[in-house]
C-alpha cells in the first residue's frame, strides 16, 4: 500500500538545508526552459490547451480547474483595449498552512517562471505577487529574483525577443486573512477595504481596476513551468488517483514530525500521517483532523485510508483545502480547538455582511461560555442553528463564514459528547490535559 514519491517536482530545488535556489542554480536544474520554449513558438492558446489537458486544479483550496479559469479571460478582439492582470495569491494565512512560504522562500524563480507563463497565456501585461506582509524572507528573495529576471530579459519589454511585455511587482499585504479571497485581494490591491466583491462579474472579466484578471495560488503557479516543459500527460501521471500532479501536504499538531512534503496527488492520509509526520506523539491518540487547514470539516480515524484528492475528501464531507492537516489528539479539548479557530475567524471577518460580522462573534461567545463552564443545554441548539444560519455558501457574501463553521459543524457531529460533557460538568473536562 505504500506509495513512495516517484518524482520531486515543486521541491526539486529544495534540499533539506533549505538553501534558496538563485538564478544560476535554478537554470542549471532546467529552470526557464519552459519560458524559452514558449517564447520561441508557443501561442497563448497552445499554452492554455496544455494546462487544460493537464487537469491542474487550483491549490489554494477550492480546487477549481486552472485551465478553465484562464479560458474565461477575453482574448484578442473580444477584449476591450487596456491592461490585463495576473495576480499571484501569496497571502497565505489559512490556519495550519505553510506550504507557499516554503515554495517562495526556497525557489522564488519557480513561481516567477510560472507566473510569466500564466500571464503570457492570458496575455496579461501586468502581474502582482500579493504576499503576506509577515513573509519577510520570501519578500526579499522574490524581490531579488525579480531583479535578476529583469536583468536577464525574462521580464520587461519584448521578453526573449518575443514581442511580449510583462511587468511584475511584489505587493505586501497589510495583513488580513480575507485577502486570501481573490476579490478581497483585488480590492486590497486597489487600495480599498479588503471586502470581497459580489460575483458575477468574475475577476476573469472584471477584476483589478475593472479589467480582466486571473488570481492563482502560489502552488498552482509553481506547477505551470513543469507542465509546459514536460506536458500534460506527464503531469497527469504524477497523481495516484483521479487528480493530476503532486501536491504539497503538511501536518501540524501533536505528531512526531510536523512538516510539509511534496507527495503525489491522492496519497492516502494514513501514509502522510504515519510515514511522513511520524505518527502521533507518544502517549497521544488520534481523535480527528482537519484535512486542509482551519476552514475544513473534521475527519476522524475511519477516514485515514482515504486518498488525499479533491473528490475523496469531498465525499467524506470535508474539503482538501490547502492539503495541510491539523491533527487533533485525544488530550486536546475539541471545543477549545474549535473556539480557538472561531476566535481567529471572527476577528478576520471583514465586517461586510451580517451573518459573518455578527454571527461569528456570537458563535465565539457561545463557545467561550461552553469552554469556560458557563454553557447551558440550549447553547448546543444555538450552535446547531448558527451552523445552519452562517454555514451555507450563499447565506453570506463570501466563503469565509461558511468555512469558519466547517470545523464547528463537524465537531458537533463527531465530538458531541465533548460538548455535552462541558455543559454537564460546568467546566472543560480537558483542563488537566486529559479528559476527566
Amino acid at each position: 500500500m505504500e506509495n513512495s514519491l516517484r518524482e520531486k517536482v515543486l521541491t526539486r530545488n529544495i534540499g533539506p538545508d533549505l538553501v534558496p535556489a538563485d538564478m544560476e542554480s535554478y537554470e542549471a536544474n532546467g529552470g526557464y526552459k519552459a519560458l524559452h520554449k514558449v517564447m520561441s513558438g508557443m501561442s497563448p492558446n497552445d499554452c492554455l490547451e496544455v494546462i487544460k489537458a493537464s487537469n491542474l486544479r487550483g491549490r489554494g483550496g477550492a480546487g477549481f480547474p486552472t485551465g478553465m479559469k484562464w479560458s474565461f479571460v477575453p482574448m484578442g478582439d473580444k477584449c476591450s483595449p487596456g491592461h490585463k492582470y495576473l495576480v499571484c495569491n501569496a497571502d497565505e494565512m489559512e490556519p495550519g498552512t505553510f506550504k507557499d512560504r516554503l515554495l517562495m522562500e526556497c525557489d522564488p524563480h519557480q513561481l516567477i517562471e510560472g507566473m510569466i507563463l500564466a500571464a503570457y497565456t492570458i496575455q496579461a501585461d501586468r502581474s502582482y505577487i500579493f504576499i503576506r506582509g509577515e513573509y519577510l524572507v520570501a519578500i526579499e528573495r522574490l524581490e531579488q529574483a525579480l531583479a535578476d529576471c529583469y536583468k536577464r530579459g525574462y521580464l520587461g519589454n519584448n521578453i526573449l525577443g518575443s514581442g511580449y511585455d510583462l511587468e511584475m511587482h511584489v505587493h505586501t499585504s497589510a495583513g488580513r486573512y480575507i485577502c486570501g479571497e481573490e476579490t478581497a485581494l483585488i480590492n486590497a490591491l486597489e487600495g480599498k477595504r479588503a471586502n470581497p466583491r459580489a460575483k458575477p462579474p468574475f475577476p476573469q472579466v472584471s477584476g483589478l481596476w475593472g479589467r480582466p484578471t486571473i488570481v492563482n495560488n502560489v502552488e498552482t503557479l509553481c506547477n505551470i513551468s513543469h507542465i509546459i516543459d514536460k506536458g500534460a500527460e506527464w503531469f497527469q501521471s504524477l497523481g495516484i488517483g483521479e487528480d493530476s500532479g503532486t501536491k504539497m501536504f503538511g501536518a501540524s499538531g501533536h505528531v512526531k514530525n510536523p512538516g510539509c512534503w511534496e507527495l503525489p496527488m491522492g496519497t492516502p492520509i494514513r501514509e502522510i500521517l504515519e510515514k511522513y509526520a511520524g505518527g502521533m506523539s507518544d502517549g497521544r491518540k488520534l481523535k480527528g483532523f482537519l484535512p486542509g487547514g482551519g476552514s475544513t470539516d473534521f475527519l476522524v480515524e475511519e477516514h485515514l485510508d482515504l486518498p488525499m484528492d479533491y473528490g475523496s475528501i469531498g465525499s467524506a464531507g470535508s474539503r482538501m483545502g490547502t492539503g495541510t492537516m491539523i491533527i487533533l489528539d485525544d488530550k486536546t479539548c475539541p471545543v477549545g480547538m474549535v473556539l480557538n479557530l472561531l476566535r481567529f475567524f471572527a476577528h478576520e471577518s471583514c465586517g461586510f455582511c451580517t451573518p459573518c460580522r455578527e454571527g461569528l462573534p456570537w458563535t465565539r461567545q457561545v463557545l467561550e461560555d461552553i469552554e469556560s463552564g458557563r454553557g447551558r443545554k440550549e447553547d448546543l441548539e444555538t450552535l446547531v442553528r448558527q451552523v445552519k444560519y452562517i454555514g451555507a455558501i450563499g447565506n453570506t457574501h463570501c466563503a469565509l463564514a461558511p468555512g469558519a463553521m466547517e470545523p464547528l459543524q463537524s465537531a458537533l457531529k463527531y465530538f458531541q459528547s465533548d460538548f455535552d460533557a462541558h455543559v454537564e460538568q460546568g467546566c472543560c473536562p480537558y483542563t488537566q490535559g486529559e479528559r476527566v
Partner: protein, 934 residues
C-alpha cells in the same frame, strides 16, 4: 414579462429588476436594509433573503438575496417559507446583538426602519448572552448627531456619502464587528449633502441635530407638502411642526426633481421660521423711532389711507409666491411694479426665461439631467448655487459606467460591480468657472477663467460644433476641440449655466452651444440656474413690463412715489446702501411685508408680519420652469398672515375693482393664470381647495398624532377645535386618508408597518419610480422654435491688469442665501464674508489667509478677510456673494478693483473643531445652542 412564482403564486414582473424590487413592486413586504432604490444593491445586510428552487421537484432550494438576484422567467421562490423566514429572523437577531435598547430615547424611534423590520420578521427572544460592543461617538458638526452604538453596518451611509455624493471625509473604518462609520477624527462633515445621512441611515446613527435638540416624534409632527426656499431648484420638502415650531425638514419624494435627497441648506436652513427676529404683529413707527404694535385691522386701514393719499409703487420679491407678487402688482398697477431684483439680475433672469422658451433644447428636470451623457458647465458653481443640481450632475457622470455595465450585461442595480468595473471612468463633464468647484473629481477637464472668457469658451465650442472657428483662444483651443467633439459624440448632451456670474454673455454662450448642437438634431438639454426660489415666477409674472429698480429709484427721486410697498424683500441686498437710502429718502412712506427683521423692514413706517413658506400657501416656479405649490404646515401665530392674504385684504379695504373676487387663494391663482399667459399653467400645479380624497380632506397629522389636548392643558383641559383650512384640500387634523392622494398633496408618507421614510415605496408606481398618479408640479416653459444668437455678443478676451483685479462673485452654499443664514445651525457653518484672492496678488500686499484687505470699488471701500485660493481665475478677485458686509460690492461685479492691506485688522479667532490636545475643551459641547450636552 417574466413570470415568477412566489410561495406557489404566479406573478408577472418587469424584466431587468432584482427579486427585492419585484417583491416590493408587487406589494409584498420583503425586509431590507442596505439596498436603496437610488443606490442599488451590494448584498451586505443579507436581510432580503428568499429561497430559490431549481425546479418544481426541488424542495430544499437555496437561500438567495433578493437584492442580488435578477428575476428570471419561471423562477420558483419562497418568501414566507420557514427557511427564508428563519434566516431573516436570524439576521435581525444578529443585528440586535450590539444594538442598544434605547428606542425610547432615540430620535429615530417611531420612524426607524430597523424597528419596522424587526417587528416584521418577528424576532423576539434574545439568545446572545455576551456583552454589547460600544463605540465612541464623534462630533460631526452642527447638523448631524452621531450615535455609533446603534449602527447595524448596512454601509448605506458611506455609499451615499462617498459613492453617490462624492464626499471624502466619512468612511468605513476598522473591521469585523468593530466596523466604524465616521470621520478620521471629530469635525464638521464637509459634504453639503451630509444631512441625507439622517434619512439614508435605517436607524438612529445619524440623526438631525437641530431636531434632536428640540425634539418631537414623527407621529407628533404636523406636516404639509412644501417647496424648499433655499435656491431655485425647487426641491420638494415635508416640513414637520409641533407647538408652533418648525422642527425639521424632510425630503418629500418627487422623482422628477429631488428624488430621495436634499442639500443641507434646504434641510437645515428653514430654521429661520423659528427665529427670534420674526415679526408677530403689525407695527407703526413712532416719532421717537420705535415701533408700536397695532392691530391688524388698524394696520390695514392705515396702509389703505396711505395708498389713497398719493401715488403708490410696489416692489415684489423673487422669494415671495407668485400669488403675492401678482396681488401686489395688481394693487399698484403694472407700471408701478418692480420685480424686486436688481436691474442686472432682473435682466439676466429675463434672458434665461426667454432663452428657455425660444431654444429648442429642453429645460430638464433633475431626473432628466441624470440621464445626460456629456455635460458642459459654463460659469455656474452649481455646488454652491443649486447644490441638488450638482448632485444630479454627479449621477449623470456615471452614465459611462452604466453603459459599460450594459455592454457587459450587468444589471443597472449591481452597484458595487458597476463601480468596480468602471472605477473612475466618467461620462465627460467639462467645467469652466471662475474658480475650482467641488465637482472637480468627476471633471474630464476644468478651467478657471474670467467670466467673459467663459463666454468666449462657450462661443468657441459652439463655433467648433458648427464647423467654424473662433480665433484668439490661445491655449484653450485644444480644450475647445475636446469639448466640442465630446458633446457631438453624446446622445444627450447637457449645457449648464446661469445667472450667478452676473454676465449675460455667459448665458448667451450656453444658448449658442445648445443651438449649435440642435442643428445636428440632437436630444439636447439646457439647464439655466437662477438665484432664488421664485426668481423665475416673478420674472414670468413681470414679463419684462415692470419697472427696473433704477427706473423706480429715478421716479422716486422726481417725487412720483408717495408710498412704497415692499413685499418680502430686503432692498439692501439688492443695491448699494446709499442707493437704497436715497430711494427711501425720496418717498413719503414705506410699507413692508416681511417675516423676519431686516434693514429694509427697520426703515419702514409700517410693517406687516408676513407668514413664512411654512405658514402660507403659494406657488413657486423653479429654474427648470416648474410651478409647484406649497401649503401651510401650521397656522401662523399672532397676527402673521400670508402676504397674499394681507394684499388681498388691503385690496378689499381699498375697494379696488375685482378684489372682492380675490379673497381666496384659488381665486387669486385662477385670476393670475387667466391674466398672465406665461403663468396660465399654475392652476394645474396642484388640485384646488375643493379636492377631496374619498370625500375627505387630506390630513396634515399622522394617524397616531398624540396629546392634542395635552398641548394646551395648562390653559384648558378641553380639546380645542382644530383650525379650519378653507384655502386648501388639507386639514389640520389626523382625520382623513393619507393614501391615494395626488403627489402634490402628500403631507407625509406612512403605511401600516412602514413607519420610516422607506414607506414611500408604498406610494410609488415601482421602487424608485414615480409617485402613483404622476410627479407633482407643472412645467410652464416649453421649448421654442430656436433661439437667435447675436454673433456680435462674443465679448473681448480678458487681459489681467498689473494693478487692478476683476471683481467676481463667489458663492457659499452656507452663507450666500438670505434666509438660511438665519438658521442657527447654518449660521454656525457660514462664517464671515471673505475675499478670495490668488496668492500672487496677496503676496504683493504682504497679507495671508485670515488677514484683512481693503477693496476699493467705485470710490467706496470695504474691508474683508482674505482667503487665498490659487484656483481663482488669473486677474480676478472674488467676494462671497450675499454675505453681510459685501452688499456694496455687488455693483462692482465685472469692474476692476484695487486692493490694499487693511490696517488695524483683528483676525478672527480660529474655531476649534477637533484637537488632539487632551486639555482642550471637548468639541462635543459645540453646536448645542449654548446648552451643554449632558
Amino acid at each position: 414579462m417574466p413570470t415568477i412564482y412566489i410561495d406557489g403564486q404566479a406573478y408577472e414582473v418587469e424584466e431587468g429588476k432584482n427579486l427585492l424590487e419585484a417583491c416590493l413592486n408587487l406589494g409584498l413586504d420583503l425586509p431590507y436594509f442596505c439596498w436603496h432604490p437610488s443606490m442599488g444593491s451590494i448584498g451586505s445586510c443579507r436581510q432580503c433573503a428568499m429561497v430559490q428552487y431549481q425546479n418544481e421537484e426541488d424542495t430544499r432550494g437555496r437561500i438567495v438575496m433578493g437584492c442580488m438576484t435578477p428575476v428570471t422567467d419561471g423562477a420558483r421562490l419562497s418568501l414566507k417559507g420557514d427557511t427564508a423566514s428563519e434566516f431573516r429572523a436570524s439576521v435581525i437577531e444578529s443585528l440586535m446583538l450590539n444594538h442598544p435598547h434605547d428606542c425610547p430615547v432615540c430620535a429615530e424611534g417611531g420612524e426607524c426602519h430597523l424597528q419596522d423590520m424587526t417587528v416584521k420578521v418577528g424576532h423576539r427572544d434574545r439568545h446572545y448572552r455576551g456583552l454589547k460592543n460600544t463605540h465612541r461617538n464623534q462630533y460631526l458638526g452642527p447638523l448631524i448627531n452621531h450615535e455609533m452604538n446603534r449602527c447595524i453596518s448596512c454601509y448605506r451611509c458611506v455609499r451615499f456619502y462617498r459613492d453617490y455624493a462624492g464626499g471624502t471625509d466619512l468612511a468605513a473604518l476598522a473591521s469585523h464587528d468593530h466596523v466604524y462609520f465616521g470621520r478620521h477624527q471629530d469635525g464638521v462633515l464637509q459634504s453639503e449633502f451630509a444631512g441625507n445621512l439622517v434619512e439614508v441611515c435605517p436607524t438612529g446613527v445619524f440623526t438631525d441635530k437641530p431636531l434632536v435638540n428640540d425634539y418631537s416624534r414623527k407621529w407628533d409632527l404636523q406636516s404639509a407638502p412644501s417647496i424648499c426656499v433655499g435656491c431655485a431648484v425647487g426641491c420638494n420638502t415635508s416640513p414637520g411642526e409641533r407647538y408652533g415650531r418648525l422642527k425639521r425638514i424632510q425630503n418629500r419624494y418627487n422623482q422628477q426633481v429631488n428624488g430621495y435627497f436634499l442639500c443641507d441648506r434646504g434641510r437645515f436652513g428653514a430654521d429661520f421660521v423659528n427665529s427670534e427676529s420674526r415679526l408677530n404683529f403689525a407695527g407703526v413707527r413712532q416719532d421717537d423711532g420705535s415701533y408700536q404694535a397695532i392691530k391688524a385691522d388698524d394696520a390695514l386701514s392705515q396702509v389703505a389711507s396711505l395708498c389713497q393719499k398719493g401715488a403708490v409703487a410696489g416692489i415684489g420679491s423673487p422669494r415671495a409666491s407668485v400669488e403675492a407678487n401678482y396681488l401686489l402688482r395688481r394693487l399698484v398697477g403694472d407700471s408701478h411694479f418692480c420685480s424686486g431684483m436688481s436691474d442686472v439680475e432682473h435682466a439676466l433672469v429675463q434672458q434665461v426665461a426667454e432663452a428657455l422658451s425660444t431654444t429648442r433644447a429642453v429645460s430638464p428636470s433633475l431626473h432628466q439631467i441624470e440621464s445626460a451623457d456629456a455635460v458642459l458647465i459654463l460659469g455656474e458653481d452649481v455646488s454652491n448655487t443649486a447644490p441638488r443640481l450638482a448632485l444630479a450632475l454627479r449621477q449623470s457622470a456615471r452614465n459611462k459606467a452604466r453603459q459599460m455595465a450594459e455592454d457587459m450585461r450587468l444589471e443597472p442595480w449591481m452597484d458595487a460591480a458597476i463601480r468596480n468595473l468602471a472605477q473612475n471612468q466618467y461620462s465627460p463633464v467639462f467645467i469652466a468657472g471662475v474658480h475650482e468647484s467641488r465637482l472637480e473629481d468627476i471633471a474630464a477637464a476644468s478651467v478657471s477663467l474670467a467670466p467673459d472668457d467663459i463666454a468666449r469658451l462657450g462661443f468657441a465650442v459652439a463655433a467648433e460644433i458648427s464647423g467654424s472657428h473662433l480665433p484668439g483662444l490661445g491655449h484653450l483651443s485644444t480644450l475647445v476641440g475636446t469639448i466640442a467633439s465630446a458633446l457631438k459624440a453624446a446622445k444627450k448632451p447637457l449645457i449648464v449655466s446661469g445667472t450667478s456670474l452676473m454676465n449675460s454673455a455667459v448665458i448667451e454662450s450656453a444658448v449658442a452651444v445648445v443651438e449649435a448642437l440642435l442643428s445636428e438634431e440632437k436630444n439636447t438639454l439646457l439647464s439655466l440656474s437662477v438665484p432664488e426660489c421664485n426668481s423665475m415666477g416673478v420674472t414670468l409674472l413681470d414679463g419684462g413690463k415692470g419697472l427696473g429698480f433704477n427706473v423706480l429709484a429715478e421716479s422716486a427721486a422726481q417725487g412720483d412715489i408717495d408710498t412704497l410697498i415692499v413685499l418680502e424683500n430686503d432692498l439692501y441686498r439688492r443695491a448699494p446702501t446709499e442707493t437704497v437710502d436715497q430711494l427711501l429718502g425720496n418717498i413719503k412712506q414705506l410699507v413692508v411685508l416681511d417675516s423676519l427683521d431686516n434693514a429694509t423692514l427697520s426703515a419702514s413706517y409700517l410693517a406687516l408680519p408676513a407668514a413664512t413658506f411654512a405658514e402660507s400657501e403659494g406657488t413657486f416656479v423653479s429654474s427648470e420652469g416648474r410651478a409647484q405649490r406649497y401649503y401651510p404646515v401650521f397656522v401662523a401665530e399672532d397676527d402673521r398672515l400670508a402676504s397674499w392674504q394681507w394684499l388681498s385684504e388691503l385690496g378689499q379695504v381699498l375697494g379696488l375693482s375685482g378684489f372682492d373676487q380675490l379673497a381666496h387663494f384659488d381665486q387669486v391663482e385662477q385670476t393670475c393664470a387667466d391674466e398672465i399667459p406665461a403663468l396660465s399653467g399654475i392652476t394645474a400645479a396642484a388640485p384646488d381647495h375643493l379636492f377631496r380624497n374619498r370625500g375627505l380632506k387630506i390630513p396634515r397629522q399622522p394617524a397616531r398624532y398624540s396629546g392634542r389636548t395635552a398641548v394646551r392643558a395648562n390653559v384648558s383641559v378641553h380639546e380645542p377645535k382644530q383650525p379650519v383650512d378653507n384655502e386648501s384640500p388639507l386639514s389640520f387634523s389626523m382625520e382623513g386618508l393619507g393614501v391615494g392622494q395626488p403627489s402634490s398633496l402628500m403631507s407625509y408618507s406612512w403605511s401600516p408597518g412602514w413607519n420610516s421614510n422607506q414607506s414611500i415605496q408604498k406610494f410609488q408606481n415601482e421602487a424608485g419610480g414615480e409617485i402613483k398618479g404622476g410627479s407633482s408640479g407643472i412645467r410652464l416653459i416649453s421649448p421654442g422654435e430656436g433661439a437667435k444668437i447675436e454673433s456680435l455678443s462674443v465679448p473681448d478676451a480678458f487681459h489681467p491688469s498689473n494693478t487692478d483685479l476683476l471683481l467676481v462673485p463667489v458663492y457659499r452654499v452656507f452663507g450666500s442665501d438670505e434666509l438660511s443664514r438665519q438658521a442657527p445651525a447654518i449660521a454656525e457653518l457660514s462664517g464671515d464674508a471673505q475675499l478670495v484672492v490668488r496668492s500672487e496678488n496677496v503676496n504683493k500686499l504682504q497679507v495671508a489667509d485670515g488677514d484683512g484687505v481693503v477693496v476699493v470699488v467705485d470710490g467706496s471701500e470695504v474691508v474683508l478677510e482674505v482667503l487665498v485660493d490659487d484656483s481663482i481665475a488669473e486677474g480676478c478677485v472674488g467676494f462671497t456673494m450675499g454675505m453681510p458686509g459685501t452688499e456694496s460690492l455687488v455693483i462692482g461685479i465685472g469692474s476692476m478693483v484695487s486692493l490694499r492691506r487693511a490696517e488695524n485688522w483683528q483676525p478672527r479667532k480660529p474655531q476649534l473643531i477637533a484637537t488632539d490636545n487632551p486639555n482642550a475643551p471637548s468639541p462635543d459641547t459645540r453646536g448645542q445652542r449654548g446648552v451643554p450636552y449632558v
